[in-house]
């Protein structure tokens, strides 16, 4: 009986070595462990046979089984070590195969620029205000000192709505009025949003566009403050060497009124194709709030002064990314959007 058991143990050892040699993965190794060393494993069976042997033979077989158990465990440990350390060959895994990319969401370039503008102004203590796009004549024109039949209404081609004599706001300036109506100075706001004008679409015109308008009202606010704020904004947006320039202009809701330009972001003012050799890029209008506007919102024009400015988001985005056609923003061509 003992001899037969020892023979069987030898065969088991051979069988184990054979199977161990072909193990390639942790799973296979685990299977091997269960087959030979598990609760119902081959080797565990022998411990049961021990009970059946005469006492003097027990130590002999027991020694032999334990020896094998140690041998198996050691071998399994070796295989496990080498498996955990193994390097896989290029033939097994080709790491140059393309990865599975996720779809990636992106923000629209125009909105990215708007986000940047908002961040800069928020950093300067401005808060963001919103207002409706379908507006009344009062907020869009009248309270901004643009009475009916005033020639400056010709400057803006307005879309009128077939309802309650409303219109689509031609600028975000109505938000100025709505804000001043709802609270007292100090006021330091920007109003970003969609605006609409009855312009036939071409490379530089769109019936819908985005504007950011700013308004600051307090005691002692001056034209010099307006210049300082716009200069520091433009320097944050376009770089610290940016310069600005003001040219007299006319808007019914500001006085003095100005158009302002920034030094060309391409050539720095030396003159190039982008600035048409002028060294300057037109941005938009600005000025001191006209006392008549304060009259509409019942602010004391003697006590308070204020300034307002506007800027076109499309214009800035087109400059920043050198985009030649405004319509690209609304076509949403994926090949365009994925470049940002």
């Amino acid at each position: 009986m003992l001899e037969r058991l020892i023979e069987k143990l030898d065969a088991l050892s051979q069988d184990f070595e054979q199977k161990a040699a072909s193990v390639k993965t942790e799973q296979e190794l685990q299977a091997l462990r269960v087959e030979f060393l598990g609760k119902k494993g081959h080797l565990t069976q022998f411990f049961r046979h021990l009970a059946e042997l005469p006492p003097e033979q027990k130590p002999l077989l027991g020694q032999k089984v334990n020896q094998l158990k140690n041998q198996f465990q050691k071998r399994i440990q070796e295989i496990s070590d080498s498996l955990q350390n193994k390097a896989v060959s290029a033939a097994e895994i080709d790491v140059t195969l393309p990865g599975n990319r996720p779809f990636a969401g992106r923000l629209h370039p125009l909105m990215q620029v708007l986000d940047e503008i908002k961040e800069i102004f928020k950093g300067m203590g401005f808060t963001v205000e919103m207002g409706p796009e379908a507006e009344t004549d009062y907020y869009n024109f009248e309270a901004l000192n643009i009475p009916k039949d005033h020639p400056s209404r010709d400057l803006q081609d307005t879309f009128y709505l077939a309802h309650n004599q409303m219109l689509l706001r031609t600028h975000t300036s109505p938000v100025q009025i709505r804000t001043m109506e709802s609270r007292k100075p100090p006021i330091r706001i920007i109003a970003p949003g969609r605006c609409f004008r009855n312009d036939t679409p071409d490379a530089t015109h769109s019936p819908m566009f985005h504007q950011v308008e700013g308004l600051v009202v307090d005691e002692g606010v001056s034209f010099a403050d307006l210049k300082g704020v716009l200069l520091s904004f433009m320097q944050k947006l376009f770089g610290k060497n940016t310069k600005i320039r003001f040219r007299p202009s006319f808007f019914p809701f500001t006085e003095p009124s100005a158009e302002y330009d920034v030094s060309c972001i391409m050539c720095g003012g030396k003159g190039c194709r982008v600035c048409k050799d002028t060294g300057w890029l037109e941005i938009s209008g600005a000025g001191m709030v006209d006392p008549a506007v304060f009259g509409f919102v019942e602010y004391d024009a003697e006590k308070y002064t204020g300034y307002a400015f506007g800027m076109g988001v499309e214009r800035i985005a087109m400059l920043k990314y050198q985009i030649g056609d405004i319509r690209m923003f609304y076509e949403n061509n994926v090949r365009f959007l994925t470049q940002f």
């Binding site: 599975n100 779809f103 808060t127 379908a134 077939a162 307090d218 034209f223 520091s232 007299p248």
Partner: protein, 767 residues
């Protein structure tokens, strides 16, 4: 830097190398052509046969001829070629082709004494330059050369004196012209003067050239003078044929409603009550300040003229031009406000030029009807206020010099100063208007740039805007790309997404049918971008947009404008991969994105309840606490057909105005249990029309708070379950915060779940 923007500069003599003066000798029609003619043209050295299509070509004319080899300013190259089988050795040019004006109606006809064979550019004379200025509507004084000259002087710090003050006229005869103003509000001043025995004829070349440079065509010497003086002074003038004025007098009155009048361009207008008319003793002869009448126009036969120089009130002219839809060089000036006290000076200047160019004599003095003279506005001006508004220190005498050079009378002997603004500056009425003038002339760029010296923080104000930005970033993180689409869509597109047509917010004056209605849903415009990209072979589209949607409330009839986020998705589930099988994105992918999106907003449980939509094949309402915050579904083929989309598209729209108030302002974190979770699977067979959400609800309710996760991992219907049944397999995770759960406890809960499911919806455990 004065606010006079130079919009363009161009030469009066364009590059017309290769264009010579020719004389048309013969004109013969070409066979088979209605309007082409073959012309024999003398070019001096040679004669050429040239085909010409202009209606006005005639033998005897002197014309500009571009000979082969010439390149016209518009880039057109001239070469010898055959037209309708007839050889053409050059081209007779129109003014437009030579870049002299926009006139392309016929060929340009030159002076009869233009020398044949000479280069055309010599005929045009000395090179000069035209500056095209953009004049803002508040500056009518700059709508004439004298006003511009004044601005330049001011900018150089020099006083300016108008040359009009030095116009000398010969003594006038003692005839009188009767002028009656019946509408003094609309016409505060009317001057008239009679000039007899003029000789109407062509204008001299200098005058023709100067008018052409500012874009005006020469008519005859008298009409040209009125236009020229308007360009010089900004004061529009009109000349009547005096013999055609019945009764030889002028009456200024307003029209009766429905009155008819024919202007000198031959158009008949039906007038509205209040339109201002210039009349003779019997009938209207001019639409005041806008255009003269056909019945009294100056013509070749005119011998005596009545010269009008008047001040019409801006409100009146503006109303009339709007009502009648006409706008002229004259009306544009009156609308903005000409100088009421300049009418006489302009009339003098015109009279001087008419006498010089058309002869004749002044038969009357200036008849000046000016019942209530308009006096300069007096403005109180505080130099300190000026400096406070501008944020700098300008010396008082510098301010005074600026104002005086602009034409103001300044009394600085009192405080505040009293400043009388000149009447040619109707924009100067208030102190702030004068402050603007000081700033403008001093130089905006001389004003220092002040940095913000106050802190202003209001952290609550940005809440909604911040929320929108947060929402946009979450959408992008959930694989959606932001787009921006037009807020206006076509009526048909809008109608698909609107409850009824009465709810559509429509434009009165849309740019086109495609942009006639404000979008009632973001879908209506976003699908345009889907179509645009599909047409360009881009099929994997996952878009979102934040924007406003519009409707007219059917009960209150108020416009309701809401901020929404919309998403539309189409194409593949995964980016093309060698490893993952191609599969298309479906409703549940979008639903998963939405569920994750809303979960990240911490809105609490969101229900998706099946609902019918006219634009969805199938869809669901999104509910939070029974409040509908949006909807999701698969678009119907019929809707997509409208956009020419042939692929499946899914969409969701969520109203941010409704979501924002229910987003919790702070988070309540739940404890993380230190005890091990217990996982069990449960497969239940139920009727196949039972919504899975209903079964989930029953399970959660029966299981109680120890059930921490419930995940559906398999849905089966087929031969292994009875007919009209389906099997839903869930994985359940149980966990307690204070102890390790025992098998008995978990089994007990599972039993409760089973009993509840069986009792409520007849569910049985799948074997």
């Amino acid at each position: 830097m004065l606010g006079l923007e130079v919009e363009a500069v161009y030469p009066t003599v364009p590059d017309v190398e290769g264009v010579v003066i020719g004389e048309v000798l013969e004109v013969q029609p070409i066979e088979n052509s209605a309007h082409l003619k073959s012309c024999l043209v003398d070019l001096g050295q040679q004669r050429a046969q040239i085909v010409c299509g202009a209606p006005n070509v005639a033998a005897g004319q002197k014309v500009p001829v571009a000979v082969p080899g010439a390149v016209l300013p518009n880039g057109m190259k001239i070469s010898r070629r055959k037209i309708r089988g007839v050889l053409s050795d050059g081209m007779i040019c129109s003014e437009a082709e030579l870049n002299l004006s926009d006139d392309a109606e016929g060929i340009m006809v030159l002076d009869a004494n233009a020398p044949v064979g000479e280069a055309f550019k010599n005929y045009l004379g000395k090179q000069d330059y035209v500056f095209e200025l953009g004049i803002t509507p508040n500056r009518p004084d700059c709508l004439g050369a004298i006003g511009i000259a004044r601005e330049i002087c001011v900018s150089e710090g020099r006083p300016f004196e108008s040359p009009l003050k030095h116009v000398a006229l010969p003594p006038a005869g003692n005839e009188t012209v009767g002028v009656d103003i019946l509408a003094p509000d609309a016409c505060p001043r009317y001057t008239a003067r009679l000039i007899r025995n003029v000789k109407i004829g062509p204008s001299p070349k200098w005058l023709v050239d100067r008018l052409r440079a500012v874009g005006l065509r020469s008519i005859n010497n008298v009409v040209d003078v009125t236009n020229y003086v308007m360009m010089e002074t900004g004061q529009p003038l009109h000349a009547f044929d005096y013999d055609l004025l019945i009764g030889g007098r002028i009456v200024v009155r307003t029209a009766k409603d429905g009155e008819k009048f024919v202007t000198l361009d031959g158009k008949e207008h039906t007038l509205k009550a209040g339109n201002l008319l210039i009349c003779d003793a019997e009938r209207a002869v001019a639409l005041a300040g806008i255009m003269g009448g056909e019945n009294s126009e100056v013509s070749e036969n005119t011998r005596h003229i009545l010269l009008e120089s008047a001040y019409f009130a801006p409100f009146s002219i503006r109303k009339t031009t709007r009502q009648l839809g006409i706008s002229t060089d004259s009306s544009r000036r009156f609308e903005r406000g000409v100088d009421p006290n300049g009418a006489d000076l302009a009339s003098n200047r015109a009279a001087q030029l008419i006498l010089e160019l058309a002869g004749g004599e002044l038969s009357s003095d200036l008849e000046d009807a000016y019942p209530t003279p308009i006096t300069p506005v007096e403005i109180a001006f505080r130099p300190q206020r000026n400096n406070r508004v501008l944020g700098l220190e300008i010396a008082e005498d510098e301010m005074k010099t600026i104002l005086v050079n602009l034409g103001c009378e300044v009394d600085d002997g009192q405080s505040p100063w009293v400043v009388k603004a000149p009447t040619y500056r109707p924009d100067l009425e208030r102190e702030i208007d004068l402050i603007e003038e000081v700033a403008r002339v001093y130089g905006y760029n001389q004003i220092p740039n002040k940095t913000l010296d106050s802190i202003h923080l209001d952290t609550t104000a940005n809440a909604f805007d911040d929320f929108i930005d947060r929402v946009r970033r979450k959408a992008a993180a959930l694989t959606l790309s932001e787009i921006v689409t037009l807020s206006m869509v076509s009526r048909r597109q809008a109608a698909e997404f609107s409850g009824s047509d009465e709810e559509l917010l429509t434009l009165i004056n849309p740019l086109s049918e495609d942009m006639a209605v404000m979008r009632p849903s973001l879908f209506s415009s976003m699908l345009n971008s889907v179509a645009y990209n599909l047409n360009r072979k881009q099929i994997d589209l996952r878009f979102f947009e934040v924007g406003n949607v519009f409707r007219v409330d059917s009960e209150t009839r108020q416009v309701v404008e809401k901020k929404a986020i919309g998403a539309v998705v189409s194409g593949r589930k995964f980016m093309p991969s060698w490893e993952v099988k191609d599969q298309n994105i479906n409703f549940f992918d979008l639903k998963g994105i939405v569920a994750e999106f809303l979960a990240q907003l911490h809105l609490g449980p969101v229900q998706f309840v099946a609902s019918q939509y006219k634009f969805f094949e199938y869809g669901a309402d999104l509910l939070v606490d029974r409040q509908k915050i949006g909807y999701i579904g698969k678009f119907k083929q019929s809707v997509l057909k409208l956009y020419d989309i042939k692929r499946d598209v899914f969409g969701v729209e969520v109203f941010l105005d409704d979501v924002f108030p229910i987003v919790p302002s702070s988070l309540q974190l739940s404890k993380i249990s230190a005890f091990p979770p217990v996982e069990r699977d449960l497969a239940l067979v139920v009727n196949d029309d039972l919504p899975s959400a209903e079964l989930e609800r029953i399970i959660r309710e029966a299981a109680g708070p120890l059930l921490r996760e419930l995940t559906l991992f398999d849905l089966y219907s087929g031969p292994q379950v009875p007919e009209n049944k389906k099997s839903l397999a869930f994985s359940l995770v149980f966990q307690a915060d204070d102890r390790t759960l025992t098998d008995e406890e978990v089994n007990h809960i599972l039993n409760q779940v089973l009993q509840a499911a069986e009792a409520k919806v007849g569910a049985v455990l799948r074997q």
